[in-house]
């Protein structure tokens, strides 16, 4: 591998990993917000029935 190859590898791995982590975090947050919305609706229905 040439020196340029080492530089590209280091930068692509670092920035790529950070971008993937950011995306994964965003996706986990969206999933959690959806789960909370469902739970809150269920809770509302529960108290509505009482």
């Amino acid at each position: 591998m040439t020196n340029v190859g080492y530089i590209i590898a280091a930068y692509v791995i670092t920035l790529g990993t950070l971008a993937l982590y950011g995306l994964q975090l965003w996706s986990r947050l969206r999933a959690m917000e959806r789960q909370l919305a469902t739970l809150a609706t269920d809770e509302g229905l529960y108290y509505g029935r009482r």
């Binding site: 670092t14 947050l29 809770e43």
Partner: protein, 228 residues
Amino acid sequence: MIGRYLANGLGMVALLTVLVGLYLALVYAPADTLQGDVQRIMYIHVPTAWVAFFAFFVVFVSSLVYLWKRLPEADRLAYASAEIGVLFTGLTLIDGSIWGKPTWGIWWTWDARLTTTAILFVIYVGYLMLRSFVDETDRRARLAALVGIVGFIDVPIIYMSVLWFRTLHQPPSIQRGGASMPDTMLFTLLLNVGAYTLVYLFFLVKRVRLESLNAIAEALIAEKAVHD
């Protein structure tokens, strides 16, 4: 809502600063007289290492606060910061290895700096594993806080390892007496340190929010189970 706008604004500023840092690192900064262009890896290796240390310092402080005040927010902050710290430590080890091959001729050696950094990575992976093994919330937070505090002892050892031991790794780039590099390189390095610190803060805000939402969801599920 304002908090979310602020967090997203922080994300945008972080992204912009990383792009400027990338330009400075690859175009603006001069090549090193001894190592040539491969030394440009320093502009991501040092910032990722700094962020990892800072992240574990946040774990250390929040763990102390948790043990003292028993605040669940402090535990959530420690957990979020530990996860990001592990990510940055992993990147530090990979970048360092890629930089080591053309400069030292090897990908890895059991040198004091490298070994203590690998130990730090293992300690905090253990911290995350411990959290997933213990179900009871308070016990999990207490045990994790102990590991978060004791594990941080490794950080100053890593920093001092290049001064205490004979090692392949170069001494710290910036020391109390000044920096061992020209101003253009120092500026590029400091800007990149700032950029990756902003990335860390953005991830931390989002990760803490995830933990807070998770706590609300767990409370709702528990309440529902009681009523059912």
